[in-house]
């Protein structure tokens, strides 16, 4: 028996009893941020939190020289995009992020998905899916 379709729209009881929300964390190259934001916006995903971070995976750093001494800078500037979406939209969102952030070169970044226990909208006390 197929698992029940998760309800995407509001139901009378609201709340997060049946649906899981998912958190998507995407580390992308800084100049890709606008593209990612716009691409998500086109499908109606409009909220996100953005942090400036430094990091590296397989991408090598570069060498700089200051007053005669060389050093390598391993940590490269990246942007972390965090958003919480309802379960049904996760795959879409991840695909959109991956496609819009990709350049094909090393250092494009990664996307992580985790489960969110609860979400609350501060202004209205809405919980669960109504909050994301």
């Amino acid at each position: 028996m197929a698992p029940p379709e998760p309800a995407l729209n509001n139901d009378a009881e609201g709340g997060a009893r049946n649906e899981r929300m998912k958190k998507i964390e995407a580390i992308v190259k800084p100049f890709k941020l606008e593209e990612v934001r716009d691409a998500l916006g086109e499908v109606g995903i409009n909220g996100m939190t953005v942090t400036e971070v430094k990091g590296f995976g397989r991408q090598r750093g570069h060498t700089e020289i200051y007053r005669g001494s060389e050093y390598t800078v391993d940590f490269l500037p990246k942007v972390k995009v965090e958003l919480v979406v309802s379960d049904g939209r996760v795959d879409d969102a991840v695909n959109i992020i991956v496609r819009s952030a990709r350049t094909g070169k090393i250092g494009d970044g990664k996307v992580f998905v985790s489960t969110i226990e609860e979400a609350v909208r501060i202004r209205t006390d809405e919980k669960g899916e109504l909050a994301v």
């Binding site: 430094k54 020289i65 200051y66 007053r67 005669g68 060389e70 050093y71 800078v73 391993d74 940590f75």
Partner: protein, 517 residues
Amino acid sequence: MKKSTLTGLAFALATTLLPAGAFGADAAAPATAEQMKSILEGGSSLRIGLDTVWVLVAAMLVFWMNAGFALVESGLCRAKNTVNILAKNFIVFAIATISFWALGWGMMFGDGNGFMGTQGLWFLSGADNSPALGKDYMSLNPFSTTEYEGVYSAINWTPVPLWAKFFFQLVFAGTAATIVSGAVAERIKFSSFIVFSFILVAVMYPITGHWIWGGGFLWSGNFRDFAGSTVVHSVGGWAALAGVLVLGPRLGKFGKDGKVHPIPGHNMTSASLGVLVLWLGWFGFNPGSTMSAGNGSAIAHIIVNTNVAAATGALGAMATAWLLLKKPDLSMILNGCLAGLVAVTAPCAFISVGNGALVGLVGGVLVVLAVIFFDRIKVDDPVGALSVHLVNGIWGTLALGLFYDAQIATDVAGLATKLTRWEQFLVQLKGVFWVGLFTFGVSLLVWYGLKVLAGIRVSAEEEVEGLDIGEHGMEAYPNFQPLSDRRFAGALVHPAPALEGQVSAGVGAVPRQAPQP
């Protein structure tokens, strides 16, 4: 200015300012003796006024160099130490003002022996009737024939009032003191720096200054230093070197394996602006040292020499950095400009403009090599103060001998020595030696004494957190602190093995001396 020219001027004034019939005399009658006297007195006042204005304006430009130093030093150091560096640069001039007034001037310019002044020591209380040039200095002001009576005779040659001379010399003393602040930055205790600065300006700087400008033994031995490559810059440099050796390098600067970890400055805009401010200030520093406007030709020669050396210094450093280090490092170009300026400071009134350009160029090359050298021997100088002021202060002093031109020495400096270039060079070398021995030696004693009595270095924790918080309880950039500032040099780049696994508040590479609590 030639005596005959001024006499001619006096005559021209008399005949043009007093039209025929002005005093009831007819067109053919010459002015009376009384009229001539009042014209000459008026001319003298005008002349003294003009010279005083020049000296004071030049002194204001030199004062402004304190802003330049503040901008350069804070720009080349980390954000977390900005308040401390600005505070040091600011307060050091206040300290210089008081200590030079209280004792420094008297020790430097008071009549005394070949070593130091002994008369009129305290608060310029000695007798003085400046401006009073007497017959020996008719070429500077033929209107003034009063003989000098006072105890600051070494500086009676400049036709301005005592306070004008004092103010001009004061800002020079302030410059020497502020040189030290750059080399000891990012780990010096604020209180110890204050005490050292008092002693430097009240005692050390005036003693060597007396030897050279105060009628002391180097002056009598024909040593020359027009605007202070030795008196100001080397003295600051030697004092700084002693401080840096007693203090030790910054945490994380040198790795155990001998690797040098760069600690980049946080604001190249500030550093660049600072050098431009200094460049402008030098237009007071060098030409102002004539301490008289003259007929303009001397100050014009000197200002051009000053500028060309700054330019070739910057170019020389840029070329050297580009060749040796693969990139034209801006901080090296900035240091190069300053190196050229420091180097031309002694010889600017003794050499041709062409040689001035050469002196600056060599200075620019030297400063890059010196920065690399000091790092290699594990002497940590965050802003290149030693490379700029000490190394090029010495180079400029020696260059005066190498490029000495008797005609220019007579016409521009008015301080010819009748020595050959080689003889002058040897005399310069002797002066470099004595000033170095004294300043470095006494500074070492003072720094070491302060270290034993009170400590001169902040704790390791404070050094990592930043002196702004530790010494001043405030931040230069609240709400905006780059993370990399709070870790060591090297923590966000390839760390030396000793640093790996350490908590960010811990201690990094072993400094030359253990940090003082």
